[in-house]
Amino acid sequence: MPKSDTKTAANRKDLFSGLVFVGIAALFAGHSMVHTIGTPLRMGPGFFPLIVSLLMGMMGLIVILQAFRSARAEDPEEDQHPIPWRGALLTLGGPIVFALTITGLGLVPATALIVIMGAFASRDMTWRGAVLSTVLVTLGCLAIFAWGLGLPLRLFGTWIL
């Protein structure tokens, strides 16, 4: 049976999110077996999460069912845009790079690094703009966190000094 594009797109959104919900619910429900479940009177650490994960799994199944049943096309404008891979990599990678370098490089270079990553997350960033915002934002972060809040962090880490 041929289907229109918008229809499959709408269905896919429901289907995938439903599968993710069922998957995560199964993960938690399965892991509950590791912990003591206990009785209602003496609840173990696994009791409440087990109930919640079962309920979540149920919701996930309903979402999956809706994906197959519903013919309604959701907002067709959505999902037209492709995933911004470069932005995703830089934005989500930023905190990880910061975490890895903060003790080694120290606050100043680690902050500058993450700000540069943020600057190049947008495809239309120019070099001049990137340098300018890196300097300004790094200084701003230092002002707030190092001098304002007085975080006990080395400005330059052991890899440098």
Binding site: S17, I24, M43, P49, M59, P84, L92, R123, V137
Partner: protein, 503 residues
């Protein structure tokens, strides 16, 4: 009565101290700015600024954070009117007629109406909190664990029913939030649970990092999806003052919107958003000039703007008096108070009179500041809008990362933040809103605690929730909400209201 006056006096003196006035000012200023800027909502901002409040007194912290919240409502309506881009979901309705007014050269009148309506609504809502909160708190003193458990259940169900988008997905997101909240150390047995063998999950997930991930990082990615930015066309603002006829037409809608908003704000869920939609359809129905709606009817600005501001204000009532936040923003505020070592609940007002009355008084002062601040400064706010998004990304990312790290100096919080940002973005792409997740995350531990204590009281008999009258009533209301949500007729009606507002 005398009691009330002395309380109000206490509040005013607290709020008028130089420090608190300063934080209130900073709050509403930052709030207006983020309300205007796309891609950074009040929730992410409040979460971001949480670490900065740790060093303040709890009163100053809450004054500033609430200033951000209601300030953003003002800012959101400014962009809705000037460029038809609601900076805040609750301002979506304002964009319809507000922007039409702006196109006809009446942007000034629309902005002024929105500001004056919001100020009136804010004032009335503040008085309402003063009158309603103390009796509600003393009523809640009789609540035991079963009542609280049912109240939390009702709150979660209601917020799902009133949220926009698919209620099934919202419910699943709520459960996901609750599950994320269970990771880490179990407070009863002290054993690590649901860490899946990862040491970085042993301390559990930090509220700030989670909120920043799903509202900050995921939102950046959402904004990066649109490839090249179009510079918004900003309507010229001239003639700030509404004519006498404008004021006459706006008067009753402001009053009606205020009361509708105050009422809906107390209910859990997306109070401010629903309030503005409801007020718009009410004004349209009552108006003798229906044909003007959608083409710049001033009633369509005055009503919804008053309604969403009133609702924003009264949504503090359940959080402060019952300790049960009705929406994700209140949940983060609750988190801020808990970090300061203060547990909101029925005894909160009597135990912290200065804090409670000070914050309430500051809301009124903050609304006054917004009125004075926003209209003359509209030119500056418009300039902010022309900052290209590419310059905002490094700011948001830098402050988010260093801010989250500054809370506990744990690298683990950053890894969790990146992971949650990824999950949040993917789910957002598939039509799952993140707000219920935050609400579930904050309310989950309370729920488990109340469930455990209730079942200890009843020796393991779950019927305790139905045997106690208040608890049974609350659960019955939750059941009615579920039935209403499933019934096709109501579902269509609900979709209609939301679509009408968005189109």
């Amino acid at each position: 009565m005398e009691d009330l006056l002395s309380n109000v006096a206490l509040g005013l003196t607290t709020a008028m101290s130089l420090t608190n006035l300063f934080y209130c000012f900073v709050g509403v200023l930052v709030g207006t700015a983020v309300g205007i800027l796309p891609g950074l909502g009040p929730l992410a901002t409040i979460a971001l600024l949480l670490p900065l409040t740790f060093g303040m007194s709890p009163t100053s912290a809450l004054i500033m954070l609430s200033g951000i919240f209601y300030g953003s409502q003002y800012g959101g309506s400014t962009t809705a009117i000037l460029i038809k881009l609601p900076g805040e979901a609750a301002a979506a309705v304002t964009a319809i007629d507000g922007h039409q007014m702006a196109k006809k050269g009446r942007a000034g009148a629309a902005l002024a109406t929105a500001a004056i309506g919001s100020f009136f609504a804010g004032t009335v809502a503040t008085v309402l909190i003063v009158l309603v909160a103390p009796p509600l708190a003393s009523f809640a003193l009789s609540f035991g664990p079963p009542e609280y458990f049912s109240l939390v259940v009702l709150g979660l169900i209601f917020s799902v029913t009133l949220a926009h988008g698919s209620p099934t997905k919202a419910l699943a997101m709520t459960f996901l939030g609750i599950l994320i909240g269970t990771m880490g150390r179990d407070i009863y047995t002290g054993e690590f649970r649901y860490t899946f063998g990862l040491t970085l999950l042993e301390d559990g997930v930090e509220l700030t990092g989670l909120a920043i991930a799903v509202f900050g990082l995921a939102e950046i990615l959402r904004n990066l999806e649109t490839p090249v930015e179009q510079r918004p066309v900003v309507a010229k603002v001239k003639g700030l003052f509404p004519t006498r006829q404008d004021l006459r037409r706006a008067g009753l809608p402001v009053v009606r919107g205020t009361f509708l908003g105050s009422l809906l704000g107390v209910l859990p869920g997306a109070g401010a958003i629903i309030a503005s939609f409801a007020s718009y359809s009410l004004e349209k129905r009552l108006s003798s000039r229906k044909e003007e709606f959608g083409h710049g009817a001033i009633e369509g600005v005055a009503g919804p703007e008053s309604a969403n501001n009133a609702a924003a204000q009264t949504s503090f009532i359940p959080m402060l008096t019952l300790g049960v936040p009705g929406n994700a923003i209140m949940a983060v505020m609750l988190g801020a108070l808990l970090i300061q070592g203060i547990t909101p609940g029925p005894t909160f007002i009597s135990a912290n009179p200065e804090l409670f009355w000070g914050v309430i008084a500051s809301m009124w002062l903050g609304n006054l500041m917004l009125l004075v601040l926003n209209l003359p400064l509209v030119g500056i706010w418009v300039k902010i809008l022309t900052i290209p998004y590419r310059h905002l990304v490094p700011i948001i990312l830098g402050v988010c990362t260093v801010g989250t790290y500054s809370i506990g100096l744990h690298a683990a919080d950053l890894y969790i933040m990146a992971g949650m940002g990824l999950i949040g973005y993917v789910l957002l792409r598939w039509g799952c809103e993140p707000a219920p997740l935050i609400l579930g995350f904050v309310l989950g531990p309370l729920m488990e605690e109340y469930l455990r204590r209730s079942l200890i009281i009843s020796r393991g008999d779950p019927m305790i929730f139905f045997q106690r009258p208040i608890s049974a009533t609350l659960l019955l209301l939750a059941l009615i909400a579920i039935v209403a949500m499933v019934s096709p007729r109501l579902r269509r009606k609900r979709a209609e209201i939301i679509v009408e507002g968005e189109s």
